[in-house]
């Protein structure tokens, strides 16, 4: 039987503010446990929440970036449940009237654009952390994270494969960094996804029962978890079983998903509007002001790269997938080197080397200035493209060596002396008579093979366009 996969994602984005959602305590990561637990974080008797305006601005930015409506009036609500790392006994969140939504994010799925609808995005606060196993009979509570500002972004169930889910998550991950509302650090939990998965018989409209995979903090885990879960659900149904709604955890070590608790036993959160906080009012003026301060969005920049700089759709989308890459690219363009060539170099040699060594582009050993010099030497025919690759590898870990020095040292300067090339062409023609005849009998490919032979004989230093011209002249004689 054929099945449709239905996926929706709730992402918890930790906002890049200085202080907590409802208090002045720092949200820095990795400090001594409870060193950032102020009286509000500890929920002392009598303390009150005061909303962090910076996080409101972040939510508005996200709203604008996903073409969403920003609510002129939204409400904070209390979500009540008991847990030691939830000091108030309730989490302040938004329920009925969230600040953002609905909107959409467009992704490229299998070469086609697809809009993933975003139902809503709401502000809330994070809980603290429980550390089990500190000692045999005690659990440690660290409230440094308690009250950290989060924006929860909820999609409609619009994704239909693990790949689409990952593509959406990646796009959103890049977007929140692009608009500078999140540091994107997935290891530290700044970007975590809850993925809702269900399957239904192909062609039917009725959705299956969903299970929610909690807290996935890497794209690889999203892929693995969804794949595993989908297989499990299909197998269960095909074996005549039934899916129960449940919250499940993914175990990266086994690659399996496992039910945490079933929704039937789940808490009744008893949401109600928080009487300690007034309705959050956002004026159109404020939205306009924030809009003005925002950078152009990736999709717009991509379009301008295609239209104005002549990049292919693929290259433009890859370059704009990350704001640091875009910055790097724009620096090359500003140094007046060919944009297409720049894109090729970034997405080709630079990317593979950076990936190999696990370095971020903003920390690339070859900075934009040196890469621009290198590309200029290709453009002015000093070196061939292949020779440039050698230079690239040579200067990678030698920051004191200039591009020109490297070309000199490696002896890669192209031969542009026509006499020398003339001799090379003659020699190759003499030794490859059968190929010449093939060409003359109409086989175009033979021509390229001849060029290859000549380049080889020159050890790559001959100027390919010069070679091509001379060869044409000589054969046709």
């Amino acid at each position: 039987m054929d099945w449709d996969i239905v996926i929706g994602i709730e992402t918890h984005v930790q906002l890049k503010t200085k202080s907590k959602q409802f208090s002045g305590a720092s949200i820095a990561y990795g400090n001594e446990p409870n060193s950032q637990a102020c009286l509000v974080s500890l929920a002392y008797p009598g303390v009150l929440p005061v909303l962090n305006n910076e996080s409101v601005n972040c939510a508005i930015k996200l709203g604008l970036a996903i073409n969403a409506k920003i609510a002129p009036r939204s409400i904070f609500a209390r979500k009540n449940y008991f847990y030691p790392d939830l000091p108030k006994g309730y989490q302040i969140s938004q329920m009925e009237l969230p600040i953002v939504g609905p909107g959409y994010l467009s992704i490229n799925a299998n070469g086609k654009n697809k809009n993933i609808r975003i139902l809503r995005a709401h502000l809330e606060e994070d809980a603290g952390k429980s550390s089990h196993g500190i000692s045999q009979d005690k659990t440690g509570i660290d409230l440094n994270r308690a009250g950290t500002p989060l924006l929860e972004i909820v999609t409609e169930p619009d994704m239909s494969s693990a790949e689409e889910a990952v593509t959406y998550a990646k796009k959103l991950h890049e977007l929140v960094q692009w608009i500078d509302i999140c540091d994107g650090n997935m290891q530290e939990g700044s970007f975590r996804c809850d993925v809702n998965v269900s399957v239904k018989k192909k062609g039917t409209d009725e959705l299956g029962t969903r299970r929610e995979i909690k807290n996935l903090n890497s794209f690889k885990f999203i892929k693995q978890a969804v794949d595993y879960e989908v297989n499990w659900q299909i197998e269960t149904l095909e074996d005549g079983g039934k899916i129960d709604q449940a919250t499940i955890l993914f175990n990266p070590e086994t690659g399996e998903t496992k039910a945490m608790r079933s929704k039937e036993e789940a808490n009744d959160y008893r949401y109600f509007p928080d009487p300690d906080l007034l309705p959050l009012l956002v004026s159109q003026e404020k939205i306009d002001e924030i809009k003005k301060s925002m950078p152009k969005l990736p999709d717009e920049v991509q379009e301008s790269f295609q239209k104005e700089l002549g990049l292919s759709e693929y290259d433009a989308s890859e370059i704009t997938a990350n704001s640091e890459v875009t910055k790097y690219f724009l620096a090359l363009v500003e140094s007046k080197v060919n944009p297409k060539l720049s894109a090729n170099w970034i997405l080709g040699n630079l990317y593979s080397r950076l990936n190999e060594e696990g370095i971020d582009i903003n920390k690339s050993p070859i900075d934009t200035k040196r890469l621009a010099e290198l590309i200029k030497r290709i453009e002015d025919s000093t070196i061939s493209n292949n020779a440039a690759k050698e230079v690239f590898d040579f200067i990678w870990d030698k920051s004191s060596v200039t591009v020109d020095e490297a070309i000199e040292e490696l002896g890669l300067k192209q031969i542009s002396d026509s006499g020398e090339i003339d001799n090379l062409v003659d020699e190759v023609l003499k030794n490859n008579q059968p190929m010449v005849e093939e060409y003359l009998s109409g086989k175009e490919k033979a021509f390229n093979a001849l060029i290859g032979q000549i380049m080889k004989a020159s050890k790559g230093k001959a100027n390919p366009s010069q070679v091509s011209e001379l060869l044409k002249q000589k054969i046709s004689k």
């Binding site: 009286l39 008797p45 009598g46 009150l48 108030k88 309730y90 300690d276």
Partner: protein, 484 residues
């Protein structure tokens, strides 16, 4: 020193007739003498109080005296006071020493007032007789067999017995006004948002409001000048220019339009109390006021609405008392759940548990719409009733409580009868309006309070309306036998 107004205490301190140290010692002496029979204080800390008094005397010596500098004020034990045990009347916080000052405390400290002790109260401010306190019931100075009212019963007994010239209270459904009525002094619940709730231990956040309790309206105006003001730490605190609450005192009330709601004089009101109220209103007529009959048609819904909203908020506000970080934790437990259950079972009293249960119930899935949402809708209707009425009159008058003080234990087994104590006060909390109770006479030697309800931010006017009455009567100056 006894029975002097805050104003004259202040000028005596200025003239150095007596020092703050002497004044504070005088009151501490009275407290030592009378508190055992009244149980009005939970914490008395002579050393701390006298240190504050000395500091106040230094300020006075340096000529830096403000109106309340050096004056002893009793603080309801709902306000966190740095270094003081702050219990909120509960076993849950029996040993809780506040690490910070509530805004109200901070403001009294800033002007150099002396914290003369923390007063007893119903547990978490839930009660109308001060019998739910973990630290024992408070007695009414007018008759020790009777209750002082609640929840600010300790502060009420303090003022009635003259154990301090001023005290703070909080009023969620009547907790300043009903005890003011039962103990015969002046109490004001300000407009919601006028006094910061920061550091005031929450009962029902959308209703809680702190206010002054003192002998006279004039005294209350001086305390209001200290207590009010916008506070960034409380998001529901109102941004408003600082006001002098004494500025309108002694203004004429000729032509004042007094609205008398017929719903305040129906069944349930003790007829002798009604007579006292009628006489008080007649007094206002003599002073040139005009009486208008008005109607607050939804007032009968105030109690049911209150007993949905207040417990709902309380059930959530009190979740933080879980034994994890501070306060009471049960001695022996098997696991986390067991610790939660036992801690809350043993740490909270019956009335608090009753309200947590009610609140949890009305917020539960499937009941939320029928109870909580419905109650919020009716709350709006109750507010609208007032808005309409204030187009016709300047002030609303009626009884503060349906009866005089009742016997201790009399209503303890009957929560509903107890809840009826607040039948005339609750609707103003629901609407967020300011209201006062002032002494209006006696029934069988027990005080009766007249309630004055004003429009939003009309405290200065209300105080003048009360002051005009107090200039022409001396009910507020009567003191209980044995405490003169």
């Amino acid at each position: 020193m006894l029975n002097l107004s805050l104003q004259s205490l202040s000028s005596n301190l200025e003239k150095k007739t007596f020092s703050s140290l002497e004044l504070s010692k005088f009151y501490l002496q009275r407290i030592k003498h009378h508190n055992p029979s009244l149980n009005a204080f939970i914490t008395i800390d002579e050393e701390k109080s006298l240190l504050m008094a000395s500091k106040a005397d230094e300020l006075i010596a340096k000529g830096k005296k403000l109106p309340l500098t050096g004056i002893p004020i009793a603080q309801k034990d709902i306000f966190c006071s740095q270094g003081w045990t702050t219990t909120c009347g509960s076993k849950m916080l029996e040993n809780f020493i506040a690490p910070y000052d509530a805004t109200v405390i901070e403001k009294f400290n800033e002007v150099g007032a002396v914290n003369i002790g923390k007063t007893n109260m119903d547990e978490f401010a839930m009660g109308s007789s001060n019998e739910t306190s973990y630290f024992g019931a408070v007695k009414n100075p007018w008759n020790l067999d009777l209750v002082p009212g609640g929840s600010s019963g300790g502060s009420a007994a303090v003022i009635a017995a003259r154990l301090a010239p001023g005290a703070t209270g909080t009023d969620t459904g009547g907790s300043i006004r009903q005890p003011a009525s039962l103990c015969g002094f002046t109490g004001l619940k300000p407009t919601y948002g006028l006094v910061s709730r920061y550091g005031m231990i929450a009962f029902a956040s959308s209703l809680d409001q702190a206010g002054p309790m003192a002998i006279s309206a004039e005294d209350c105006s001086l305390m209001m000048n200290v207590m009010t003001g916008h506070d960034r730490r409380d998001s529901t605190s109102i941004e408003r220019d600082k006001e002098d609450y004494g500025s309108k005192l002694n203004g004429s009330i000729k032509g004042l339009k007094i609205g008398i709601p017929k719903e305040f004089f129906g069944e349930g009101l003790d007829s002798s109390v009604q007579k006292v109220i009628d006489c008080a209103i007649d007094e206002y007529k003599k002073l040139g006021a005009e009486i208008i009959e008005i109607s607050l048609p939804n007032n009968h819904l105030a109690i049911p609405v209150y007993y949905v909203i207040a417990p709902a908020e309380a059930s959530s506000n009190l979740s933080r008392y879980d034994g994890v970080r501070y306060g009471f934790r049960t001695k022996e437990y098997d696991d986390l759940m067991d610790m939660y259950f036992k801690t809350r079972q043993e740490g909270f009293g019956e009335e608090v548990k009753r309200r947590i249960l009610i609140g949890t119930y009305v917020l539960s899935a499937g009941y939320y719409d029928a109870y909580y949402l419905k109650a919020q809708k009716i709350r709006r209707l109750i507010s609208e009733d007032f808005t309409k009425v204030f187009k016709k009159c300047d002030v609303i008058m009626g009884p503060s409580a349906p009866s005089v003080a009742f016997k201790a234990g009399e209503k303890q087994e009957d929560p509903l009868a107890m809840y009826m104590q607040d039948i005339y006060t609750i609707s103003t909390n629901l609407a967020g309006l300011p209201a006062m109770s002032i002494p209006a006479g006696f029934v069988n030697h027990l005080p009766v309070g007249l309630q004055l309800i004003g429009n939003y931010f009309s405290e200065a006017n209300l105080l003048n309306i009360a002051h005009s009455f107090q200039k022409n009567t001396d009910w507020h100056l009567q003191s209980a036998k044995g405490f003169e």
